[in-house]
């Protein structure tokens, strides 16, 4: 078990190039489950590799339980890892691959057998135990890599995109499994992923990264409900958040939001400044209203009927917007629809400079 503190952490691979990690600070409590979330190239894997001791630290410090580990070698940090490139031993069986860390530790054959079979059962690897790893599909190999890392019961456990290529049912099972591992062993866990759903579902707190910098640190609820900027808002949540570019206007001392030739009164609690703004609203925060009572007019494009709920894809001017409805709502193609926003959940961000010209509408 260990807490982790990073201060002004920098990773630079080439002296001339911009750093992969730009001087970040974070703390992870003992036994906490933290996800580092971001798109490829955001610096999340470099950060994790510095924690693991697989990468030198260019500047700044990493401490485990307050003790500086910058110069401590990887194997002495008692960190277990499951990586995208799960270096399995190709010529020995799945069983022996999973058993390997226990054999190194000199566990008895009976104990090894018990643990290997238990973990193989949970991870649906039991029928594959006799196979060689080179005969496995990539998803199967991924699970073997994860099983081998988990069987060591480490003090810090780093998981790098461990379940990204699994099907729906396997993902739920693996999440359930990883969560139960965390509950049972209370290991400090760091889960590196580009998949917001895995981060939201698993982590106590999420560190959102982009361009080598931390954008936001918070609980899944904080990140989802109150994203600090448009990047975080857009990266977290599925279906993704809707961005509607427009202009905040002042009329009779009140703020209105104008877009695509229409406008509506912003609730008083929304902090707005006049000028071009980006309104962000999650699909679950939009609902269908009536002609008499709505914020935005839209035209129906397609409906995705997921049976337990529907995803309506509509056009507000030239902006495509999605909203969630219950499964009984099925509009006609091209039908006019009236959208209502949840007044408690309207986010406004500065305009995206790169998009202003392209999305400029008839308004």
């Amino acid at each position: 078990m260990a807490s982790i503190q990073a201060e002004r952490l920098v990773k630079r691979y080439n002296p001339g190039a911009p750093p992969a990690v730009t001087g970040i600070d974070f703390e992870i409590a003992d036994g906490e489950f933290v996800a580092i979330l971001g798109p490829s190239g955001c610096g999340k894997s470099s950060t994790m590799r510095m924690i693991a001791g697989l990468e030198t630290i260019t500047e700044g410090t990493i401490r485990f339980d307050g003790k500086l580990v910058n110069e401590v070698r990887a194997r002495e940090r008692k960190v277990a890892m499951s990586f995208e490139s799960y270096a399995l031993y190709p010529t020995i069986s799945v069983y022996e691959n999973i058993a390997f860390p226990l054999r190194c530790r000199g566990e008895s054959s009976v104990e090894i057998d018990r643990q290997v079979r238990q973990i193989a059962e949970t991870m649906e690897l039991a029928p594959l135990l006799g196979r060689r790893t080179k005969e496995l599909s990539s998803g199967q190999a991924q699970r073997v890599g994860l099983a081998r890392a988990l069987i060591r019961r480490p003090t810090v456990f780093l998981l790098d995109e461990p379940i990204s290529h699994l099907d729906t049912r396997q993902r739920y099972r693996m999440r359930q499994f990883i969560k139960s591992i965390h509950r049972d062993f209370r290991t400090t866990m760091i889960y590196v992923t580009h998949d917001q759903e895995e981060a939201m579902a698993l982590a106590d707190r999420i560190i959102v990264m982009s361009h080598g910098d931390i954008q936001q640190i918070g609980t899944p609820e904080e990140i989802y409900e109150r994203p600090v900027n448009a990047f975080v808002a857009g990266f977290v949540g599925e279906p993704p958040i809707n961005f509607i570019d427009g202009e905040v206007l002042v009329q009779d001392g009140e703020f209105h939001f104008a877009t695509a030739g229409q406008s509506f009164l912003l609730p008083h609690k929304v902090q707005a400044t006049p000028g071009r703004m980006r309104l962000a609203v999650r699909p679950a925060w939009l609902s269908l209203g009536s002609e008499a009572d709505h914020h935005l007019r839209a035209t129906h494009f397609v409906t995705e009927r997921l049976q337990d709920h529907n995803i309506l894809v509509v056009d507000v001017g030239r902006t495509r917007v999605t909203l969630l409805t219950d499964p009984t709502v099925v509009p006609q193609d091209g039908q006019n629809l009236y959208l209502r926003l949840d007044p408690d959940r309207i986010l406004l961000y500065p305009p995206d400079r790169s998009q202003v010209a392209a999305d400029d509408d008839d308004s």
Partner: protein
Amino acid sequence: MIELKNVTRRFGLTTLAIKGLDLTVQDREFLVLYGPAGAGKSTTLKMIAGIVRPTSGDILRDGVSLLGVPPERRDMAMCFENYALYSHLSVFENLAFPLRARGVADREIQAKVTKIAETLGIPHLLERRPGFLSGGQRQRVALGRAIIRPASTYLLDEPIGHLDAKLRHRMRAELKGMARDLASTIVLTTTSSREALALGDRIAVLDQGVLQQLGTPEEIYHRPVNEFVASFVGEPPMSFLDATAEREGGQTALRLRSGHRLPVGPGWAAPLRDPTCRLGVRAAELSIADTADDRHAVPVTVDQVELLGHVRVVRLSLGQELVAVVVPPERQLAPGQPLWLAIDPARLHVFQDGRAVSHPAMPTVH
């Protein structure tokens, strides 16, 4: 209409990728081939394309066998996971290729490539060669090259599976709009339940080379023929509980493994061949309460809670078994917390020996 008749495909002597597949793809249909890795989805698609030959069986279009027809003469546009792009050509020229091959005028090519590049979010990559693209970017170019030209049939092998959420949703809507607007047939493979339900007019659920069920999303979701389909379609996956039907004083009840008795109406157990069965329950069909009442009569404890944005998925321990239920994200729940679960016998799927015995009534759609 494309028909696969008793199609089998072996790889080597031991691997049977497809076993006796009978499948009809209707004209202008959006058919989704859905299943886990190794189900035979890609193999099926490649046999329709003509890239892989069936070991036995026949594939017909409008009653005429396609087996002697080479892929390029089948008028099918395709995009496979490892379908090579032309490495010596720019992204623009890769996208333009199917149009140039058909003698389309330069101005129209320019317009079409620009439009599709915007849809796919790659306008800034048009001058690059494929070797300088990420995997997801190459996938988008391959998809764009497939859908840029009119074809009688589009064959798309996991075309959006590896895209980020924003692009995936945009492409999902585009594909659905395209399917509605074009007079074309689309066959698409996926391992995502949401994608299958969102896109398909019909879904063919495959497992280990065998067709499990072919039906509309409504049928697949509400009338799964077996436990595999039931557990594989819908999110979170359906939960299963072992139960035994008991009669006592003229009343029928289901005894769960936890020992709890669930009274059911007269005639409920009539379709059962023997008293033991498996109950399938969808997370959205269950409700929980802090205190017991007439409906919430099954004691459970919270095992795990997952926030998935607009819903919270809660796994409940019911004895040794786990049941998933969805609640609004505002509902705060902690592991270990005791709760009361309502199981409505009218909303249960019942399985015996893996096969469905009965289903709840279909919901009505206005």
